[in-house]
Symmetry: C2
Subunit: 168 residues, 2 copies
Amino acid sequence: MTDVNFSDTLPPEPAASTTAIPIDLIELLFFAYRDFTSDPDAVLAEFGFGRAHHRVLHFVSRNPGLRVTDLLAILRITKQSLARVLKQLVEEDYISQEPGPQDRRERLLFATAKGKALAARLTDLQTQRIRRALTAIPAGGQDIARQFLYHMIDPDQRGDVARLIEGE
Amino acid sequence: MTDVNFSDTLPPEPAASTTAIPIDLIELLFFAYRDFTSDPDAVLAEFGFGRAHHRVLHFVSRNPGLRVTDLLAILRITKQSLARVLKQLVEEDYISQEPGPQDRRERLLFATAKGKALAARLTDLQTQRIRRALTAIPAGGQDIARQFLYHMIDPDQRGDVARLIEGE
DNA sequence: GGAAATAAGTCAATATGACTGACGTAAATT
DNA sequence: AATTTACGTCAGTCATATTGACTTATTTCC
């Protein structure tokens, strides 16, 4: 059976409790996500941007030519919620728009050089945190973590997510 | 080296890409958290509550006698943000307050029977999702996932979190 | 005993990110 | 030509968060 182990590097208090019911994972997910988002948030504040801007910039930067509809499906927000954020990013030259070459109703989204730079800076902060976490866990942990997170996603959404991450 | 493996149960597309730079984990964390919070959100909506109510109710329920200050530190929000949410929960009899026995300035928070029932219902939804994810990953995965998430937390916060999860 | 610090509540004003519902326009599809 | 689609926009609303100032009760420190 699994003995809990927080611990390894700096943790002040190891741990002890067998977990048939993984309530601890609920709380760890909350705290991990809280701190995970805090690094970019600090940088974004300098630019007058929020978390919503980050998400848009991130997915556009990673997926050049993304359509507005795609973004709405990924973020699961409404057109109106996206509008203000996207408008700001376009006006301040972090994202550019182009009509679709086949279908000109579409507005394909691209990160500008400025946009890419900011996105990279934010991604860097987050990969640093992830890398640090990965060094603290056993070999092969990255795959396990990946699989765990992947299976936390709604089953019917996993395909879309996998395709998105792999870049189509 | 690590070959990616999304996949196992239902995933429509396995995967393939070696990841020295774990950008995929950034996105997986986003999607995992998005869906992780969606289950409780749906229930909370029935009660006219939001995510903020959930967080308060959860931590009070898990830690009877928690003080307002503790809650502020855990949630990293301001007193004013907490006030409205906590007030509602107290007024609608999900949480009760008691002056601290040693220090009567303190108001110790407790979940009522009603509060415990709702908290349990929400916890149940989240543990179900986690359990499903754990069955899809190799044995020992739970510990790895726990360690990974734990090390995603700010180093100087880990002790507090460990203590909180273990119940002091 | 009096001053200072602490725990908590409260007021006012504001920002951000989200929502619904309706409507308009251009372009593609049928 | 009619319909559907992609996108934008208007108006109004809500939930969650912020800052800063101020009050009250109580405890602690000198």
